[in-house]
């Protein structure tokens, strides 16, 4: 589960840059954090979003999903939102990579896909290639040097979200 973060000066990596996060994330599905009381620029759990029909009309909130969600069952309702966060319970659990690709490639989602929970710097390159464009990290880490790992690998064989044409179609 991603951690609650109410501070206004939290930094994240987005679109390759370190920026101040304008969103706050609600980690729990506590009853008090539900329905119309959801403040603007809040990322809420999918369960809360689904429990309150009126939230479907909002275009100023985001949702976060666990990586065991049936993405095909929820995609139609969440792709209207500006932010979808995918939680990594541990960095070793790679389901989120497939979920992001499906959102981008199958559902043509153009908003922000954010990696939350436990990801490590050394995964940024792969995460980016699968369609993530925002990354939040827990703890005290140097985001500037971390962001450099987005470009650890400069060329790739496969088709991916950021470069749909595989190398074999591009070889000179």
């Amino acid at each position: 589960m991603p951690s609650n973060d109410q501070k206004s000066d939290t930094q994240i990596i987005k679109d390759g840059k370190v920026i101040t996060d304008e969103w706050q994330l609600v980690a729990s599905n506590d009853e008090e954090q539900t329905g119309s009381v959801v403040e603007t620029k809040t990322i809420i759990p999918l369960s809360v979003f689904e429990a309150h029909k009126e939230l479907v009309e909002r275009d100023d909130i985001g949702v976060w999903i666990t990586n065991d969600v049936d993405i095909h069952a929820v995609a139609d309702s969440i792709i209207k939102l500006p932010v979808i966060a995918i939680d990594f319970p541990t960095f070793m659990d790679g389901r989120g990579f497939s979920l992001a690709r499906l959102l981008r490639e199958r559902y043509d989602y153009k908003g922000e896909i954010r990696a939350t929970g436990y990801v490590i710097r050394d995964q940024l390159c792969y995460l980016k290639r699968c369609g993530f464009n925002a990354f939040s990290f827990d703890g005290d880490i140097d985001l500037e040097s971390t962001a450099a790992s987005l470009n650890d690998l400069t060329e790739a064989y496969q088709t991916s979200v950021d470069k749909p044409s595989p190398l074999f179609r591009r070889r000179a």
Binding site: S98, R129, T154, E155, A156, S165, P166, R171
Partner: protein, 553 residues
Amino acid sequence: MYKYDQYDNQIIQDRVSQFRGQTERYLNGQLKEEEFLPLRLQNGLYVQRLAPMLRINVPYGMINSAQLRRLAHIARHYDKGYCHVSTRQNIQFNWPDLAEVPDILAELAEVEMHATQSSGNCIRNTTSDQFAGIAADEIVDPRPYCEIVRQWSSLHPEFAFLPRKFKIAVTGSDTDRAAIQVHDVGLQVIKNEAGETGFRVLVGGGLGRTPVIGSLLREFLPEEHLLTYLDSILRVYNLLGRRDNKYKARIKILVKAMGIGAFKEKVEAEWAHIKGGPATLTQEEIERSKSFFTSPLYEEIDDVSVQADIDGIAADNIAFSKWLTRNTFAHKVPGYIAAVLSLKPTGVAPGDITDNQLDIIADLADKYSFGEARTTHDQNIVLTDIKKSELFEFWKTVKAAGFATPNIGTLTDMICCPGGDFCSLANAKSIPVAEAIQRRFDDLDYVYDIGDLDLNISGCMNACGHHHVGHIGVLGVDKKGKEFYQVQLGGSANEDAALGKVLGPAFEQDDMPDIIDKLLNVYVDQRNEDELFIDTYSRIGLQPFKESVYAKQ
């Protein structure tokens, strides 16, 4: 053989730089042990019982003389002067220094080799038939497709953190020398009635704790769809494979739990969306890959005459004759023959090879076999393109170098994992058992009389020694801190793939040569003319073997 271009070089060099940075951060304390773990595994580096172990990919077993010499150099300068051919055609170094591993990877990159994804929960090195391209029974050369799979799987962004490891094997013959039925995905390159090339796709085979023979997923997958179909299989596995228990995380467990029908439905549903997409292979790409595996410049040779010469020499030279019978393999081109260099002489750990031997093989490859060699999954080395007219001279050199033990395919050509002497996973030692058996059965005439026999030894149920698919399989087990050995009979890794059945209670290490002896005696007593051990077993079953081995003295 495949040759890197600027893109392949860039990809591998980026990878080396990335791992150098990761290693530095780890050694500086900036990268946690548990976070470095999967990163080093995906660069081939295990931490073993005594030292790190570095596993280097030999893509589908193909290796050239420059690469062999570089491995010799690495063995000399970074290790203790030897390395090990693994049961998946890879090369393992047992004593590298962690801090020097980035340098080793940089040395490998210079000769177009890497250790990317040779370990970890990701797509591993693709394996194949060691006689690909030269076997008379081959329908389609599998190597161009192996290379396409190597590129697709290397640094695949979506499948680097799978529930568990994922192994692909490809064969192009009806005779399966790549054990495709016991791989996560097994591909057989075939031609359909219209003459089009495609794949018979098997899924969910594997050894380990829960050995399973793979299920048929698709009878014919047209070649251009190879990568989109693999992407679909992997995506279903990545999303649905179990992650709560590492012993139930392989794709075989998912396929069994869902049933092959339901699993296939999921794969086909996924595929419906990406089929025909950008990952669809172009004819240009298939041709490009094939262009690296064209036949070398064979001479036109009168086979009858050179064969008569060889037969003449063999008639007067028993040692050569034995080697010719056991250690060579027919070549599709007249006048040529393939030779297997045995890495199983008695007294050497099966598959071990020294720096000097690597250099000698490189020289042999350059002189006799177009500069190329192959590693085999039964831990030997093959030179595929020897002129029959040079075979006797070749044999003399090979014999002097210690590679001519004429035991290929026999009882003493065992598949054996490194076991408890090296591996931290092992429950029991495996190398001393192999050696004790080799010492007991040092009478070649007896070994030849027994004939083809796969004897496979694993030091634990992870089954790196492929014990489930040995005609005789030996599994090391730990009972209250003491090492015992369980015996299985009747396994096979070929097109008639089968899993062995457990004979009964396990034995002590010292008893193993006697046990093997008793099993062989039952076979010798009961065999019909020309029956191999596995045939006799299939006919008479487990019981006679059991009675003999467990009989009260």
